[in-house]
């Protein structure tokens, strides 16, 4: 699975909107994840996951920043996320299904914040892109 030129343009363009509210989007994505898929909380026993928690905000920022890194290196996501890929494979070992949940929650957050911009084309491109990112993060699992 690879991105067409049109898809890359869409992704980069949408990112410029996201980056203006990156932290907010990251935090909300995680809130949605933990509300809708409580099993994801099992990876964060050491966190205060209540709305407004500083840890949630910090981690949300981190997640969205990583997505941003992937966007900036959209021609080589594998290389850009190589360290994160190792971290998830050998240290965090988050079950792959959770990447689907997180990706879905990010899409919902984007749709909710940018309804007019979240057309079918944008939805499709971001769905594919996050699928690629998830693939890179689970690449070294076995």
């Amino acid at each position: 699975m690879s991105l067409t030129r049109a898809e890359r343009t869409i992704i980069v363009s949408m990112w410029s909107k996201i980056s203006t509210q990156a932290d907010l989007i990251g935090t909300e994505t995680l809130e949605r994840l933990f509300s809708c898929y409580p099993q994801a909380k099992t990876y964060f026993p050491h966190f205060d996951l209540h709305t407004g928690s500083a840890q949630l905000r910090a981690h949300g920022s981190r997640v969205v920043a990583a997505v941003g890194d992937a966007v900036k290196s959209i021609d080589n996501v594998t290389s850009a996320l190589s360290k994160l890929s190792e971290l998830h494979a050998y240290v965090l070992r988050v079950d792959p299904v959770n990447f689907k949940f997180l990706s879905h929650c990010l899409l919902v957050t984007l749709a909710s914040h940018f309804p007019a911009d979240f057309t079918a084309d944008v939805h499709a491109a971001w769905d594919k892109f996050l699928s690629i990112v998830s693939g890179v993060l689970t690449e070294k699992y076995r």
């Binding site: 909300e28 809130e31 949605r32 509300s35 809708c36 898929y37 879905h104 929650c105 899409l107 919902v108 749709a111 909710s112 914040h113 309804p115 979240f118 079918a120 939805h123 499709a124 769905d127 594919k128």
Partner: protein, 147 residues
């Protein structure tokens, strides 16, 4: 078995009531068929699915999307027994339509995203959580009679 709180039922029904069934339902089904082309295998009788614009404009897609989304609202009237409510439809989807239940989950998630697009900030995490419960419950209910 899925259990909805009073607030969840009210929130779901309230949002559903504001949606245009054909517009939102048609859009969700259309996006499923466009983004995940393998799902088109179940819709040979729908006519022209040859391009994204053909799919999104296809009247049979819109009609079926409307039917699907309408059934979600109807389901809320029997939210404590979704399996019972969808038993006949489950048999139909298995025996006649041969639909892979994985596609029900895929469609459920696309419906959630389309609802978010239509309701913007009203689609809070709690609202999403209630709808995820519903789409997951419906998908499971539809798969229940498979054999």
């Amino acid at each position: 078995m899925v259990h909805f709180t009073g607030e969840e039922k009210a929130a779901i029904t309230d949002l559903w009531g504001k949606m245009n069934m054909e517009e939102a339902g048609g859009e969700a089904l259309g996006r499923l068929l466009v983004f995940y082309p393998w799902t088109q295998r179940f819709f040979d009788s729908f006519g022209n699915l040859s391009s994204a614009s053909a799919i999104m404009g296809n009247p049979k897609v819109k009609a079926h999307g409307k039917k699907v989304l309408t059934s979600f609202g109807e389901a809320m009237k029997n939210s404590d027994n979704l399996k019972g409510a969808f038993a006949k439809l489950s048999e139909l989807h298995c025996d006649k339509l041969h639909g892979d239940p994985e596609n029900f989950r895929l469609l459920g998630d696309v419906i959630v995203i389309v609802l978010a697009t239509h309701s913007g900030r009203e689609f809070t995490p709690d609202m999403q959580a209630a709808w995820q419960k519903l789409v997951s419950g419906v998908a499971t209910a539809l798969a229940h009679k498979y054999h």
